[in-house]
């Protein structure tokens, strides 16, 4: 199983905060997890930009995902100032 977390507008759009999913396939990527997440949520993200992290490290959509990983999806960050 993998743990999937959604933040900010991604969380609100999918109505998913956190869930557990089976690894989509042996050589799965972040993009595969995203697809499985949207299928599970029954919704497609309309976000123009999307960031992903695996085990709390920024990764690209084609990064590999392994069993036990924590995969997170969120929009571009906006911290640091007014």
């Amino acid at each position: 199983m993998i743990r999937v977390k959604c933040f900010a507008s991604v969380r609100e759009e999918l109505g998913v905060d956190e869930l557990a999913l089976p690894l989509p396939r042996a050589d799965a990527t972040v993009a595969d997890v995203l697809q499985a997440l949207q299928a599970q949520a029954g919704k497609s993200l309309a976000q123009a930009h999307l960031l992903a992290a695996v085990n709390m490290t920024h990764v690209a959509m084609d990064a590999p995902v392994q069993d036990g990983d924590e995969v997170a999806f969120f929009p571009p960050v906006t911290g640091g100032g007014a």
Binding site: A48, P76, G81
Partner: protein
């Protein structure tokens, strides 16, 4: 190196005064950036800001940024504090302080940390208006004409908020 992510307000000077003196012995200069919630007053309808973050990753990413600053510039040490939760106009959001023997490295490293923080540290801001709430979208990758950090386009052009950063 000290990194804090907290809901409570902070006193920038008290945070600096509490920094371990041994770590910054020999400092000739100290540069501090403080980011504030802008007070738009009558020019806008923003009542408050809500800041969400990714507990665990946010702290790690800030520590990575500070470590990089230490490797790139001749500094003694650094301090980052960032708030989450509900903030009001003129509230402090973030403090970055860097100590160095010479001021040039302190300026460069402080700027590096806040610039990287704004593109990498998982924080998201929502504006609270009388009509409801809206996420701030302010994609630095788009602004710079490139798409860094692996983010991808899933939909049509998105709205950018003008003047949305400190």
């Amino acid at each position: 190196m000290i990194v804090k992510v907290q809901a409570a307000d902070f006193d920038p000077q008290a945070e600096m005064d509490a920094f371990p003196p041994a770590a910054i012995q020999g400092a000739g200069g100290q540069v501090t950036f403080v980011g504030l919630v802008r007070d738009y007053s009558e020019a806008s309808d923003i009542l408050a800001m809500e800041i969400e973050h990714y507990p665990g990753m946010t702290e790690r990413e800030l520590q990575r940024v500070c470590t990089e600053a230490q490797q790139r510039y001749d500094i003694l040490d650094s301090l980052v504090i960032h708030r989450h939760g509900r903030l009001l106009p003129t509230d402090r959001i973030v403090q970055v302080t860097v100590w160095a023997r010479h001021r040039a490295a302190a300026f460069d490293a402080c700027r590096y940390i806040i610039d990287e923080l704004k593109t990498r540290a998982p924080f998201w801001k929502k504006e609270v208006t009388p009509a409801g709430q809206r996420w701030v979208t302010d994609c630095p990758g788009c602004r710079a004409g490139s798409h860094g950090h692996g983010h991808t386009h899933l939909g049509p052009a998105h709205r950018h908020r003008a003047g949305g950063e400190g």
